[in-house]
């Protein structure tokens, strides 16, 4: 009898996870069926991702809440010594070059590849340090799984090489207002003319 109980428990756990997955999926279907309405989410949109994220203010959001803005996204981690400060500088440079009348339309998003360390408190401090406390700077961390999936979408590869350090590809991605990947800038401190132009063209 005791064994039977365990089996039942195991079975129900199993069922719950399946059920979970199907719930997520039905959410996905809903978003497809919304196609005819105003909130149209296209096939290539990152707003199809069901993942949940925590902002630097500790708020839970889904990516689709960012719909309607041009997104400039980069994956970093706050304890990073080498490349990340330069990626942050690259983001700032992009922001500077976007003309005043378009600034409102653009959201700059940093996604953590080290979500265990990059808590809202940590990100808040990081934002302060880098003078990025304005609303246009958004810092997100999610579960390890969602982070891996999001990196897969951006084609950003990363690997933890020590408890303190990651090796990662340096890619800044620009999404149009519908959440479709429109442009990627690869490398550090590269000529950002094309990226700036892409942002300006998309921010209509």
């Amino acid at each position: 009898m005791k064994n039977f109980k365990y089996i039942l428990l195991a079975l129900s756990l199993f069922a719950i996870s399946c059920n979970d997955a199907s719930k997520k999926d039905s959410a996905g279907i809903e978003s497809t069926s919304e196609k005819s309405s105003d909130n149209k989410i296209s096939d290539m949109s990152i707003y199809n991702l069901p993942s949940h994220w925590t902002t630097q203010d500790g708020n839970e959001i889904e990516l689709k809440q960012l719909q309607g803005k041009v997104l400039v996204m980069v994956m970093i981690y706050t304890s990073c010594q080498a490349a990340c400060p330069r990626l942050v500088a690259d983001m700032r440079n992009l922001e500077k070059q976007v003309p005043e009348d378009k600034k409102e339309d653009v959201q700059y998003v940093f996604v953590s590849i080290d979500p265990k360390i990059d808590t809202p408190e940590r990100f808040t401090a990081f934002a302060k340090e880098n003078e990025m406390e304005d609303e246009k700077w958004l810092f997100l961390s999610g579960s390890e799984d969602d982070t891996r999936e999001f990196a897969a979408v951006l084609a950003v590869n990363y690997k933890q090489i020590s408890p303190m350090d990651f090796s990662h590809s340096n890619i800044i991605s620009v999404f149009n207002k519908a959440g479709e990947l429109a442009h990627q800038q690869e490398g550090l401190g590269v000529d950002n003319k094309e990226t700036v132009q892409a942002i300006i063209d998309l921010a209509i």
Partner: protein, 255 residues
């Protein structure tokens, strides 16, 4: 009453998943330390004990999955999650080509990941996969055994092995079939392979592999076989699919 309905729903879902899990047989791989080809500065990596499917997921398995989750049918799948070669050889949404018990291929990472999640499993981590795949029939780490390496390299040269049924290669030390010999397989963290950008060290290693003037010994062959896998992973994106790339699922060991 509501509780009862929920319970009923759970049971139904469960039954459905059960049906979908045709080849759900899993083997336990006892963990340990190993030195991967691409590691953090030549450090040993610890792999915890885990469970892995004995066989790759088949065409028939995957058909059941898309019937249950129609959003993964080839005409429905979102292009964010799969490119145009997704299930390309399936004539319709519900008819695969080839043997029902041949490994399913032309599936994207997203689809493979979802499939495993529905069964309460996950994709194997790259280190887990590599760890399990070091074994031949007799020993857990056969990477220095010439015949083992030769087997893998011979397979690389054999065309269309993806058409063969599962179980047609050897059963390894852990009781797992077909890790080498039929198809390559997705891993959860395939996108940890850095071929460009910051991973200059890795790139150097590659050139050593190619330019080494030393005679080709067993360890070179071993590295070459593994290098091919890493290079392939590094070239893939999560929405890509390929006719020689399938997958199987893994699971943590529950206490």
């Amino acid at each position: 009453m509501k509780l009862f309905n929920t319970a009923l729903f759970l049971v139904c879902t469960l039954l459905f998943c059960k049906v979908a899990a045709q080849n759900s047989e899993m083997a336990t791989v006892k963990g340990g330390d190993y030195l991967p080809l691409y590691g953090a500065a030549d450090k040993m990596v610890n792999v915890e004990s885990f469970m892995i499917d004995v066989y790759p997921v088949t065409n028939a398995d995957f058909l059941k999955f898309v019937k249950e989750y129609p959003q993964w049918k080839k005409s429905n799948v979102k292009s964010l999650f799969a490119d145009e070669s997704y299930l390309t050889k399936w004539k319709t949404d519900e008819s695969f080509s080839g043997l029902p018990n041949a490994p399913v291929t032309n599936v994207s990472w997203f689809a493979a990941k979802k499939y495993c999640e529905c069964l309460g499993k996950r994709l194997p981590k790259m280190d887990e996969w590599e760890f399990a795949a070091m074994a031949n029939e007799n020993v857990p780490d056969a990477r220095k055994v010439e015949a083992y390496n030769q087997y893998i390299l011979n397979w690389y040269e054999t065309p269309k092995t993806f058409n063969k049924p599962i179980g047609s290669t050897f059963k390894n030390y852990w009781g797992v079939y077909d890790l080498h010999g039929l198809v390559w397989e997705w891993t959860q963290d395939f996108n940890t392979v850095l071929i460009s950008g910051e991973s200059r060290k890795d790139v150097d290693k590659d050139s050593n592999l190619f330019c080494g003037s030393a005679a080709i010994g067993a360890s070179d062959l071993m590295n070459y076989a593994a290098f091919m896998r890493y290079a392939f992973r590094g070239s893939m994106k999560a929405r890509y699919s390929s006719q020689n790339l399938g997958f199987r699922c893994a699971k943590d060991i529950e206490n």
